[in-house]
Symmetry: C2
Amino acid sequence: MSEDESATDDAFRALAEPRRRAILRLVASDELAAGEIAAAFDVTRTAISQHLTVLREAGLVNERRAGTRRLYRARPEGLAGLREFLDEMWSDALDVGRRLVEADRATVEPGREPDVA
Amino acid sequence: MSEDESATDDAFRALAEPRRRAILRLVASDELAAGEIAAAFDVTRTAISQHLTVLREAGLVNERRAGTRRLYRARPEGLAGLREFLDEMWSDALDVGRRLVEADRATVEPGREPDVA
DNA sequence: TTGCTTTGTCAGTTGACGCTAACGTTAGTC
DNA sequence: GACTAACGTTAGCGTCAACTGACAAAGCAA
């Protein structure tokens, strides 16, 4: 339970960085080497290497070694936590049942105190 | 175009914080006052107020004033950028068409330079 | 072995972020 | 007006994260 949560936590933190999202898009369909990925950005290879480490530890990319090269590819399963959160938010926010209960409450009490404690 | 991107950027950064995700879940179905939200956590009301500001500026919550109280509710449309990114990743990573193109390229060119710039 | 390539790792700096405490503001009440 | 309740805002502090530059490791070729 707490393992999944921390995994989702890592994924969210990893995706907060725009450059890491860009990297992820880059390796979404193609498997690329660290150097090739670094060549697509204006920062040092060091920075990209660190980003790749973060992405790997967050379960968002796979690493495969071939000679001196390390090939990376996106790992869609790593986004499961994200999707779960999104779906939960959507269903909770748009659920018709809840909206009706709410409207009912507003009818009984003219709209002053939601009183949710 | 760049407006949407920065909006998505703000959303991702806002959701990177676990407490903000918790707040968002809290106001997903119910409209709550700032104080009620703060009561659900162990940090100061100040901290919660700042979190709510971040969420509001990221377009993830709506603010409605009623007397001295400020009522917050999740704004599902704010998650559009997230959903878009997720869907893009999923389709790109699992798209069979791309996989075939990739295999074809591997046949023509023995696998040295993906050339992504 | 020597040398070149590809990549990760290790200090160290800088900027951003989350938190608290004190203060300011707005709305309602006596 | 005076007082209280509900919030937001500011200043300051500690911590984390992204970046650079220098160095180390691992694979391969001459």
